[in-house]
């Protein structure tokens, strides 16, 4: 049996209330909120978050042979972004890492290819940061999020949703397009694409049902994902006739997550599913893809690491619109008059690979003292080269003392910083994120999150920060 072994969606902490757009400009915006990636997140770090959740919810010892990462907003071109996700997830070096990108369709495409592949287990990650231009429809309707689906054979772990079959329909037509480097997505008149999607949806739907040997009445949950809202509604209306239920989307809270939308919606459907349900995932983007899955008894024992619903409920609804604009580069604010950070050294980063990307310290075998960063000589007892790796990324810590630095260079001042003592030993003075400057107290519990600290010479410098446990 092949299918989904684990799944996760990740929703960034901050929400933009769309009414704030209208308040500021007198136009644009709308009802509800959209999710906003923090200034220290990019699609790569978003993919790490979802990947961590998906692997945390997978059976112990289940490690993918391949990592695929799909995004329409890659941090690097030429260089593979997935290797950074691979490093942060501490995957074995024998596991491959590949980017898929450009079109938002690569999200559901990666999922379909993984379900059809021979790799025993593939972690399919997708992430997107949807910016648009101020007052535009894409700004309001977009959302930043990521998804990760661990796809594989039951030899790799219990399959919670069996892959039944797929159908695709492709035909070139111009709907939306974006020039590389720009935040604005351009659109042809919506009606034209709507007419194109309709027949393609029918075609893919029928092919998928045929491949799976199902009739529409046997579909319990229909999930339609796509950024063309009229076409999505039309497809849901038409294909939904006779199926059990049509799943709600996250447009009122997260927005449309572009490349990550299909994976996010599927993860959400799995979180809500009971055994024996047939889920149809339909993706509309430059064609139509349909994936059919049936949940197994194993889904009863599967627990998401952090459900999408919890993340929606735990978000910060108070992000100022100005922060959104400045974080996304739509408004340029003056940086602190301090030297900007120097670029990281590739060779130094290579030497501290486990620390920098995996947040692995070292533990003195004799005294048990944890060293962050890892050290060859113990500060307790002085033993030399008698350390074992101390993976710390999944441990929580407690704030001993803290400060707010309004002087130091930051892409989004001020810097909130704390001395953190980890459960079970180990200390790190570390920057906090996803926290208000007045929102920290001694004794607060924090957890670690992988972030992009800064960028210099085009090099995105990644490391870990702490965030409040919510």
């Amino acid at each position: 049996m092949r299918g989904i072994i684990s799944a996760a969606g990740y929703v960034p902490h901050n929400r933009l209330d769309r009414a704030k757009i209208t308040e500021f400009f007198g136009s644009g915006g709308g009802k509800g909120t959209r999710s906003v990636a923090s200034y220290d997140q990019d699609t790569t770090t978003l993919a790490v978050e979802a990947g961590r959740y998906a692997l945390a919810a997978a059976p112990d010892g289940c490690s993918p042979e391949s990592l695929w990462f799909a995004t329409a907003v890659p941090t690097y071109l030429d260089k593979t972004n997935a290797t950074i996700v691979h490093a942060a997830l501490r995957l074995d070096s024998s596991a491959a890492a590949y980017d898929l990108g450009g079109g938002v369709r690569s999200g559901i495409g990666a999922l379909r290819a993984a379900l059809a592949s021979n790799d025993p287990a593939v972690l399919v990650t997708s992430a997107d940061i949807r910016t648009g231009q101020a007052t535009g429809g894409d700004e309001a309707s977009g959302g930043d999020a990521s998804a990760a689906l661990l796809v594989g054979d039951d030899s790799a772990g219990p399959v919670i949703a069996e892959y039944l079959g797929a159908g695709s329909a492709t035909r070139e037509f111009l709907d939306t397009w974006r020039v590389p480097g720009e935040s604005r997505t351009r659109h042809w008149e919506e009606r034209f694409a709507e007419t194109q999607f309709g027949p393609l949806a029918d075609q893919a739907w029928n092919e998928a049902l045929k491949a799976a040997g199902l009739s529409p009445e046997q579909v319990d949950v229909l999930v339609v994902a796509g950024s063309h809202s009229r076409a999505v509604k039309a497809a849901a209306r038409k294909l939904g006739t006779g199926v059990g239920t049509v799943a709600d989307d996250y447009s009122a809270t997260i927005g449309n997550a572009g490349t990550a939308e299909a994976g996010l919606r599927l993860a959400g459907a799995l979180e809500a599913a009971t055994p024996g349900q047939v889920i149809a995932l339909v993706g509309l983007a430059d064609g139509v893809d349909v994936l059919l899955l049936r949940t197994t008894d194993a889904i009863t024992d599967w627990q998401p690491a952090r459900s999408i619903g919890d993340q929606i409920a735990g978000g910060n609804p108070d992000l100022p619109y100005a922060k959104f604009l400045s974080w996304r580069g739509q408004v340029t604010v003056e940086p602190p008059r301090r030297p900007e950070p120097a670029r990281m050294s590739a060779s130094a980063a290579g030497r501290s690979y486990d620390w920098k990307y995996g947040f692995v310290g070292s533990r003195d075998r004799e005294s048990g003292a944890v060293h962050l960063p890892p050290s060859r000589v113990s500060f307790v007892g002085g033993n030399v080269d008698d350390m074992e790796p101390a993976p710390m990324a999944d441990l929580q810590g407690t704030v001993l003392t803290f400060t707010v630095d309004k002087l130091v260079y930051s892409p989004s001042p001020p810097v909130v910083f704390a001395v953190v003592n980890f459960d079970g030993g180990g200390r790190l003075p570390v920057e906090l994120t996803d926290v208000a400057a007045d929102g920290v107290s001694i004794g607060d519990k924090v957890e670690m999150t992988f972030r992009r600290l800064n960028t210099s010479d085009g090099i995105a410098n990644y490391f870990w920060k702490a965030r409040p446990v919510r």
């Binding site: 008059r337 301090r338 030297p339 950070p341 120097a342 990281m344 050294s345 130094a348 980063a349 030497r351 501290s352 620390w355 920098k356 003292a369 944890v370 060293h371 962050l372 960063p373 050290s375 500060f379 001993l400 003392t401 803290f402 400060t403 707010v404 630095d405 309004k406 002087l407 130091v408 260079y409 810097v415 910083f417 001395v419 003592n421 980890f422 030993g425 180990g426 200390r427 790190l428 003075p429 570390v430 920057e431 001694i442 600290l453 800064n454 410098n461 990644y462 490391f463």
Partner: protein, 397 residues
């Protein structure tokens, strides 16, 4: 094995200190020439009489050539030393040990920093290529971590503690206002400081040392030769440096209410000098008030106050110019600013003047003790270097 020190084996017979300023019109060379020439005059020597030089600068130049070239020294050994904010004191330590060893008769320790050419406010270390994981907080923020930790540990109200450290700034500015060499010569009230906007934790700009260019120098000779140069030599009683191993950043036990390196350097220096009750034996102390919480903690690490009591002693005026244990009588880093390579020697210059009774009456200490202390630290809580020196106007009996 042991740290024995060189108590009373060398003496300082001449010193100088330039005004600490934003010296837009003076470069590193000018500051060095001004300080060296004044030190020669103070000791009554010429540059050829000085056998060896130690130049302290953190980042205003590389190698001894930074000094030899502007002074046009001929065939002299010049060594540039660097030990973060203890750089100036480190130059003195090396010069003193060289003379004590018998290798040289006369040595100069000189420190300089030209800070104001960087185009940025504050001090900015130049970057060493690294893996990009290092902390990038300002020093102000790193030292501001002390206040919540101290308040928590000793149950002091945070607003009260904020006033305490503001009083430290106010005290040092009151001293600096009387000192023509100081950069800032304006008194600052506790209220005014408390009302300023916070820039790092609860610290305002006036909880931070100023930023100035400057230079200071000392001439060191063997103790038995000292009276050939002056009637009032100042004897080196102790020189101690402790380089921290960074364990405070690793060790969950370290609680940010003490600087272990400073306490260790103080213990070593007191042992070298034979000081058992510093609060009663020292006439004054010049300590590294880079930020106001630093001075608070140092009063305990240097054993001028019991643990958890420094804040009360500060409020009681113990460390005022007229107090029981005057601290930073010249105005400190608060009033002088902090040209890194020069600060340690600037502190020694104040001890030199006070013990020789060469300061004007309005800023003279009120006690007649014979020992003075200088202290530097470089780095951050949990990971720092510290220097403690003790100096006396009388040789041991």
């Amino acid at each position: 094995m042991g740290s024995h020190g060189i108590k009373d084996r060398v003496a300082i017979v001449g010193m100088s200190c330039t005004p600490f300023r934003e010296h837009w019109d003076k470069g590193t060379d000018d500051l060095l020439i001004d300080a060296a020439e004044a030190a020669y005059r103070s000791a009554g020597v010429t540059k050829d009489d000085v056998d060896a030089y130690w130049l302290g600068t953190a980042q205003s130049g590389m190698s001894g050539i930074t000094l030899a070239a502007p002074l046009k020294l001929e065939g002299k050994p010049v060594t540039r030393v660097e030990n973060m904010c203890a750089t100036g004191s480190e130059a003195l330590r090396q010069a003193s040990y060289a003379v004590a060893s018998g290798a040289y008769d006369v040595a100069m320790a000189i420190g300089v920093e030209k800070v104001k050419d960087s185009g940025y406010q504050g001090l900015n270390a130049f970057p060493i290529p690294n893996d990009g994981t290092a902390r990038t907080l300002t020093a102000a923020a790193m030292f501001s971590l002390v206040l919540p930790a101290y308040a928590q540990r000793y149950g002091v109200d945070e607003d009260e503690l904020r006033r305490v450290v503001a009083r430290i700034a106010s005290k040092n500015h009151a001293n600096g206002a009387k000192n023509p060499l100081a950069q800032f010569r304006k008194e600052m009230s506790v209220e005014a400081i408390c009302n300023m906007a916070a820039v790092a934790g609860r610290l305002s700009v006036f909880d931070c040392a100023g930023v100035a260019d400057g230079s200071a120098a000392a001439i060191v000779v063997r103790a038995e030769d000292a009276h050939r140069y002056t009637d009032n030599p100042i004897y080196v009683k102790a020189l101690s440096v402790v380089s921290g191993n960074g364990s405070g950043l690793l060790d969950p036990e370290y609680d940010y209410t003490t600087f272990r390196e400073c306490a260790a350097a103080a213990d070593d220096a007191y042992a070298q000098a034979g000081v058992t009750d510093p609060r009663r034996e020292l006439a004054l102390a010049e300590v590294h008030d880079c930020f106001t919480p630093t001075e608070l903690v140092l009063m305990e690490d240097l054993r001028f106050a019991e643990r958890g009591q420094a804040w009360k002693e500060e409020l009681a005026g113990t460390f005022d110019l007229t107090g029981d244990m005057p601290v930073n009588t010249d105005g400190g880093l608060k009033s002088f600013g902090h040209p890194v390579g020069a600060s340690g020697l600037r502190m020694l210059y104040e001890v030199f003047l006070q013990l020789r009774k060469e300061v004007p009456a309005e800023r003279a200490i009120q006690n007649d003790r014979k020992l003075g202390l200088t202290h530097n630290l470089g780095g951050y809580p949990g990971e720092m270097v510290s220097f403690v020196g003790i100096f006396g106007s009388e040789p041991s009996a």
